[in-house]
């Protein structure tokens, strides 16, 4: 019962944010990139709910349009590593042998690179932008899914139902997809919840460094960076975008916990 509550609480919070992001044009009438140089750094008013930034852009509108960017890229950036990692984990765990040792050595190599160092190096290669972020997160992120699924396959493939499926002469592809996959994927799904948080953190950090989503697109990381010089007078400029990330992280963490409790039952 408790698990279901945490799950729904998390899903509710996240759902609200997603709705706000989708219906952003209905919630705010301000364009997040439109500058109003006559009205810079204004305090919250009835028109500008969170005031305006140094270029006179509406902060509230940038915040919810920023949710579009950060949430979308956060989820997108996890999708590819999930698919690649889960598939490779299934195959290496099942077939073992040379293929397994080769993939595991690649895994060891990837783990040796600090994520942000690799991400920054890749941004250097491909130039700042969404594509580089997704490539960087994919190159590093598949490893965790691969290890999780591989470990589960190693255990599951010795179980009776898999032996039975083999004995009935089912093709390997079918055993892997229909029999093994549903039984080994749950941990990977749970991990993907915290992985989305990690990828959003990466987008925010790269955005702050000026290596992420190019300005003037509203994005939480670059908003923190743009607000920093005015932090004593307009503390909310840099503070609230960070809060948004914390809330997303909190919601996904609740969803993850709910899923774990559900699976353990």
């Amino acid at each position: 019962m408790k698990s279901i509550k945490t799950f729904y609480l998390g899903a509710g919070i996240l759902g609200l944010l997603v709705m706000a992001a989708i219906f952003a044009p209905l919630i705010t009438s301000f364009d997040p990139t439109e500058q109003d140089l006559m009205q810079t750094l204004s305090a919250p008013t009835s028109a500008h709910w969170l005031g305006t930034d140094a270029l006179g852009r509406d902060v509230f509108s940038r915040l919810i349009y920023g949710a579009r960017i950060d949430l979308t890229i956060g989820v997108l950036a996890v999708l590819l590593p999930f698919i690649i990692g889960v598939s490779l984990g299934l195959l290496t765990g099942w077939f073992g042998g040379r293929f397994d040792s080769l993939v595991m050595r690649v895994v060891d190599t990837v783990i040796a690179f600090p994520f942000y160092v690799l991400a920054i190096a890749l941004v250097f290669i491909f130039g700042p932008g969404v594509k580089s972020i997704i490539v960087a997160i994919t190159l590093v992120g598949w490893v965790a899914y691969c290890r999780i699924v591989r470990a589960n396959v190693l255990v599951a493939k010795e179980l009776d139902y898999v032996h039975a499926a083999k004995l009935t002469g089912l093709p390997i592809g079918r055993i892997l997809r229909r029999h093994l996959l549903p039984n080994v994927i749950s941990q990977a799904i749970v991990f993907s919840m915290s992985d989305i948080v990690l990828s959003i953190l990466a987008i925010v950090s790269l955005g702050y460094l000026g290596l992420g989503v190019p300005i003037p697109t509203a994005e939480w990381g670059s908003m923190i960076q743009e607000g920093q010089p005015y932090i004593l007078q307009q503390w909310w400029l840099a503070t609230i975008p960070g809060f948004m990330v914390v809330i997303v992280g909190f919601a996904l963490s609740l969803i993850g916990d709910g899923l774990v409790a559900r699976l353990e039952r």
Binding site: T109, V117, F124, S205, I231
Partner: protein, 313 residues
């Protein structure tokens, strides 16, 4: 398996990883779309300069020769030369080490200082309110962006209450210590949720073990059990956790250095990106990967030395 065999096996296991790292870092320059020289020179590209750069990079030679030269340069200890000021990259990295090293040490020290008491508090009464509160810390803590923690600390402890410098590294040792306090605290806030989680788990496990039961049966006080029997083993566990998370830690250093304008190794890399100084980017990437591999090796070896069961497996 004896400890010596274990060490030998771990060293051999390292070889393919080192090879993989060298190939990955070597590949960085070859992944740059189009002609690297063209990209590197930008608007200043003329056919002569492109030819010169290509020669400097050695990309006019066969790929295998290039790789061998790259490895040779690593063993010469120079890691190539900066485009910007022609200095050996290794020398530039070494010059920035004190900053990064102090920051790393400070961060680890503060995170243990934060995590240990909280973990003890939580583990001392499983399921109690204090346990639940401490367990909630990672849920919030792991969702906080590094840069944001840094900016918040600057606001609170640097500007509202100007207790610590908000940027730079200072000139004297005491100034260094004051300057690295906020960045170290940022790292500690990032790291301690991970530490708290694993420390609490390992302390609970130890509290359930036979030797703690024996200690209780002998009439030893709970305080003594916690601080002498349990804590010592829990600290070993946290060293391992730190070792496992070294890659995350080093990566965060790069970002935190930037927030607090500390001229360490991470800043060296980010500045090099702006200048498109590719040997530095390559060198620093290689250097950080090597740090991670060596720290992981040391963690395993220390862990095996402290807990002989590891080597036996």
């Amino acid at each position: 398996m004896s400890y010596l065999t274990y060490t030998g096996r771990r060293l051999i296991q390292m070889l393919p990883v080192l090879f993989g790292i060298s190939v990955a870092v070597f590949t960085i320059v070859h992944l740059i779309p189009g002609d690297p020289a063209d990209v590197l020179l930008g608007q200043n590209a003329t056919p002569d300069r492109i030819k010169l750069i290509n020669h400097q990079l050695g990309i006019d030679r066969p790929i295998l020769i290039q790789y061998i030269n790259f490895i040779r340069e690593i063993f010469h200890g120079s890691l190539g030369f900066s485009f910007d000021n022609k200095e050996p990259v290794a020398k530039l990295i070494l010059g920035r080490l004190p900053e990064t090293g102090m920051l790393l040490t400070g961060g680890i020290f503060l995170s243990i200082l934060i995590a240990l008491p909280l973990a003890i508090l939580a583990a001392s009464k499983r399921g109690a309110l204090r346990d639940q509160l401490v367990r909630a810390i990672p849920i919030i803590g792991l969702g906080m962006p590094q840069v944001w923690i840094g900016v918040m600390l600057i606001l609170l402890l640097g500007l509202k209450f100007p207790l610590f410098p908000v940027s730079g590294f200072g000139d004297t040792f005491l100034q260094h210590l004051r300057s690295i306090f906020l960045p170290s605290l940022t790292i500690a806030i990032l790291l301690s949720p991970i530490l708290i989680r694993s420390l609490r788990a390992s302390m609970l496990e130890i509290l359930d073990s036979d030797y703690v039961l024996t200690a209780r049966a002998k009439g030893i006080s709970q305080t003594r059990i916690t601080f002498v029997h349990v804590l010592r083993n829990a600290v070993i566990a946290s060293v391992t956790v730190l070792g496992i998370n070294i890659a995350y830690l080093v990566g965060s250093l790069v970002i935190v250095e930037r927030v607090f304008v500390i001229p360490g190794t991470g800043s060296l890399m980010i500045d090099a990106i702006a200048k498109r100084d590719y040997p530095i980017v390559q060198g620093v990437t290689l250097y950080f990967a090597l740090v991670v591999v060596v720290v992981n090796l040391l963690t395993d070896l220390i862990h095996a030395a402290l807990d002989p069961r590891v080597a036996l497996k």
